[in-house]
């Protein structure tokens, strides 16, 4: 099986090739990479509007930026601009592949904000502004998002270096023959990984806060009967309802929310900056720590992107193993999130304890093959790191055929007709499907609004096209449906698991010929012509691959310049982008509902902040 199952970008349109009709198009990148259209920066809105209205690309999946300073590959011949703002669009109606737009802009320039066409660009443009310093004109709220106001510089720029290393790539032992690398951090008087610009005076320094995010909310919702005063209530970053270190600023009148603003970055771990310094293989364990409930799906997304970039083939047994792992993960995630939605509703702990009971059994299986319960680091480019252990399949079959369906029945029996869940869930947090799509929301959230969009069907990867399963949808787009859709999806996962565990090629045989990672068993060297062993050097180009993670569309965007570490490594995080909908969904409901609305989006802060 090949990773290139991923459909190619549709080139042909109703009116000819896209390159001919797209407004402002300057050219395309070469064919041996993910094809991208170069679009003049001042025409970007026209191009996006054309794609949305004429070609049906209604889902702006990812907005990001690449800094090409110091890049010397063939791809950038003849382009002098330093930055490219990169857009990936999909169609939720037609399914299939993406259209990629690159808008080159010089340093310190501005580009029009896409928020007028796709409100879902909101958070992503703020992130680009924060990390690259690119200004989006017309953006409603262009502030820093992951870092704090007043932070010095824009850290993802290529010329911004951390105080810790102060080097371009990781200082390997071999580059320091004496074997004693002195960290830059240790040479600084304050002994911390911190940078202060010259002339900066900590005594007189004032944070440049000019804007209180929820201050512009209307004073009342609708007609005011009483002359009440609205107040700002802060939840987080340390708050039991926020599922980690997340902060919500709400303006409320009585208990009704007038405006809600998410604040994040409290777990911003610089995943992308570190990823650019790492080699390709070194990034694999870091992806575990994105959405730390679902390390296997994260691994898969990343492996898929690198496989797409390099054209590595995956053996069939490994494809099945991946499916099995991903579906177990989905089960774990969905039962976990069901338990914690109930937790947020006030049913403290009991449903959660029931819901995560089976999780321990599944984690035992993970531990058996990978050595770790949580951070499995099990997938590799071209397969998985090692074969299943003896007897693993028997245990897995027992779970999939016996225990997991029973556990779901139990949850169903306990919760689905539960009066509190009905009363608190029905009709709360409503947002229509069109709004959700324009806000770039993906995953169970849109399926609970009646949109049958699942990447496993819309653009099948791996061997998902071989299994018989359905995409459940529910019509109401409220908390209750978001709870119930997870239960239904977990049932479908069990269904896929049963099939995959039954048909896995090689069956119980351990050490089956074609099992493990093609790259590891043959050595990267033989495939990529690099320095043997583990030093993968993909050809110059870029790739975007996505998987249906339990949270939504998890995408990895990788740009390579042919060196052992990625030039650009970006994670399109479903949790982060789904938070676009938090504000619009909460307005008009009670403060206590906002807690559940957040819980039903199902975020994991490791992935939100990266």
């Amino acid at each position: 099986m090949s990773a290139t199952l991923v459909a190619e970008a549709p080139d042909q349109t109703q009116t000819g090739t896209l390159a001919d009709v797209l407004p402002g198009v300057l050219g395309t990148t070469s064919d041996d990479t993910d094809k991208a259209y170069l679009v003049a920066a001042d025409k970007i809105l026209d191009a996006l509007a054309y794609l949305r209205d004429k070609e049906g690309y209604d889902f702006l999946s990812s907005v990001t930026c690449v800094d090409y300073q110091g890049y010397n590959g063939k791809q950038r011949k003849g382009i002098s601009e330093r930055f490219d703002v990169v857009y990936h669009l999909y169609s939720t109606k037609k399914g299939g592949g993406h259209v990629v737009l690159h808008a080159p802009i010089p340093s310190n320039d501005t580009i029009a904000s896409a928020t007028s066409l796709f409100p879902g660009a909101n958070l992503q443009e703020r992130e680009v502004y924060d990390l690259y310093g690119i200004k989006f004109e017309g953006h409603p709220n262009l502030r820093r998002i992951l870092l704090w106001d007043g932070f010095n510089g824009h850290p993802m720029r290529k010329d911004w270096k951390e105080a810790y290393f102060d080097e371009d790539s990781k200082p390997f032992r071999s580059r320091h023959p004496k074997g004693s690398y002195e960290f830059h951090e240790d040479k600084l008087p304050w002994g911390k990984n911190a940078t202060y610009p010259a002339g900066w005076d900590p005594d007189t320094w004032q944070a440049p806060v000019a804007y209180v995010p929820v201050s512009q909310a209307p004073k009342h919702l609708g007609e005011a009967h009483l002359d009440t005063e609205s107040i700002v209530v802060n939840l987080g970053p340390h708050h039991p309802s926020t599922h980690g270190v997340f902060r919500m600023l709400t303006r409320i009148e009585g208990e009704t929310i007038l405006a809600l603003e998410p604040e994040m970055g409290y777990l911003h771990r610089n995943h992308e900056k570190i990823g650019e310094r790492n080699t390709y293989l070194m990034n694999m364990p870091f992806t575990d720590r994105l959405d730390y409930l679902n390390s296997m799906s994260n691994n898969w997304g990343y492996a898929l992107a690198v496989e797409k970039l390099t054209g590595i083939e995956v053996p069939e047994r490994a494809e099945y193993i991946r499916v099995i792992m991903a579906e177990f993960t989905r089960f774990v995630n969905h039962t976990w999130s069901i338990g914690f939605i109930l937790n947020d509703l006030g049913a403290l702990q009991t449903p959660a304890l029931y819901a995560i009971e089976e999780r321990e059994m599944i984690l035992d299986l993970f531990e058996e093959v990978s050595g770790a319960r949580l951070m499995c680091n099990y997938l590799r480019f071209g397969g998985v790191v090692r074969d299943l252990t003896a007897g693993w399949l028997t245990k897995a079959r027992y779970l999939a055929n016996d225990r997991l369906p029973r556990a779901l029945d139990e949850l169903d029996r306990m919760l689905t007709d539960n009066e509190i869940l009905m009363a608190r869930g029905r009709g709360v947090g409503y947002l229509p499907a069109e709004d959700l799509i324009s806000l770039s929301v993906s995953g169970p959230m849109i399926r609970a609004a009646g949109v049958a969009y699942d990447i496993r069907k819309a653009e099948p990867y791996g061997v998902y096209d071989r299994f018989d399963f359905e995409i459940p949808t529910l019509p109401h787009s409220d908390i209750y449906d978001r709870y119930y859709i997870r239960l239904l999806e977990a049932r479908q996962s069990v269904r896929i698991l049963q099939q995959a565990l039954a048909d896995i090629p090689g069956g119980e045989t351990v050490g089956f010929g074609d099992y493990a990672s093609a790259t590891l068993s043959q050595g990267f060297g033989s495939i990529m012509g690099g320095k043997g062993g583990y030093n993968l050097r993909p050809p110059e180009g870029e790739a975007y691959a996505r998987v249906e993670s339990p949270k939504g569309e998890l995408g990895f965007y990788i740009a390579s310049d042919g060196k052992p570490n990625p030039w650009r490594y970006h994670v399109r995080s479903p949790c982060y982008i789904n938070l676009n909908a938090l504000g619009p969904m909460s307005v008009g409901y009670k403060l206590a509902d906002a807690v559940v609305i957040l819980g039903a989006i199902d975020i994991v802060l490791g992935e939100v902040d990266r």
């Binding site: 704090w148 008087p189 202060y196 900590p202």
Partner: protein, 263 residues
């Protein structure tokens, strides 16, 4: 040959003597019912048997912390199942995850709000020393750069078993403490930790002078001693002009590295 049977009440009396201060005599008829021990022991036993952790998760390690509290590993066995979201009601802070610069002021503030006696357990590689993300520009290399830590649990993430082992170590530490010497009953001893602030980068109020020494130097030297920043010019050179304190730090670091190699 008749051996004299040991007189257990007498032996016990003998053993207890040091604790009795010559004043407490347990009447014979109560010997079987009354237990005499030290105040320290009772005090510490009750503290360690109802040590409430702060409900406080930072990152991936928090998931393992929840798993530890769930039914399989069952933290309730140690009297620790009551996780309190309020720092006022909790005794133990489990720093479970990556400490970021943006978060650390909040953590220090929470720590200051906890009533003494309070304990801190650094769970996982991140809280201990920065972990896999140590090099990150927004990551703090371990919570002990700011607040005192009692027990470190290594791992990424530590398994629930490891966490339980660490918690038992906290209990042991509690058991070894004595009312006479614990800091929180002394006069004028408040362990208030100054809250770090977010400026151009994070800074500890205790280090303001140190930072100013470098940043407020004459422009030419200053730009050589700082790095980062938005402009390439701002960090053109490595740290050439180093202050005396920096030199001593460097030597310290070299010594440490040499000792590590030797040992």
């Amino acid at each position: 040959m008749a051996t004299v049977p040991p007189n257990f009440p007498e032996i016990k009396q003998e053993q207890l003597k040091p604790y009795l201060h010559d004043s407490i005599v347990v009447p014979d008829e109560l010997q079987g019912n009354v237990l005499i021990t030290t105040l320290d022991k009772v005090y510490n036993w009750s503290r360690k048997s109802s040590m409430w952790p702060l409900l406080f998760g930072l990152a991936c390690c928090a998931i393992e912390m929840i798993a530890t509290a769930a039914s399989r590993y069952d933290l309730a066995r140690f009297g620790m199942e009551v996780m309190r979201p309020s720092p006022r009601q909790s005794d133990l802070m489990i720093v479970s995850g990556t400490v970021t610069k943006k978060m650390v002021p909040a953590i220090v503030r929470i720590y200051n709000q906890m009533a003494e006696p309070r304990y801190v357990l650094a769970m996982g590689a991140c809280a201990t020393g920065g972990g896999p993300f140590k090099e990150g520009y927004n990551v703090v290399s371990g919570i002990d750069k700011y607040i005192p830590v009692d027990v470190y649990v290594p791992g990424c993430p530590p398994t629930p078993e490891a966490l339980i082992y660490g918690l038992l170590k906290v209990h042991e530490k509690v058991e070894r403490q004595s009312i006479l010497t614990v800091p929180w009953y002394r006069k004028d001893q408040s362990e208030f930790v100054p809250v770090p602030r977010l400026g151009a980068d994070i800074f500890d109020p205790r280090q303001v002078e140190l930072i100013k020494e470098t940043t407020m130097k004459k422009p030419v030297e200053a730009s050589a001693a700082t790095t980062g920043g938005g402009d390439a010019a701002a960090h053109a050179a490595g740290p050439k002009a180093v202050s005396g304190k920096a030199k001593s730090r460097m030597e310290e670091a070299k010594r440490r590295a040499a000792a590590k190699r030797a040992g």
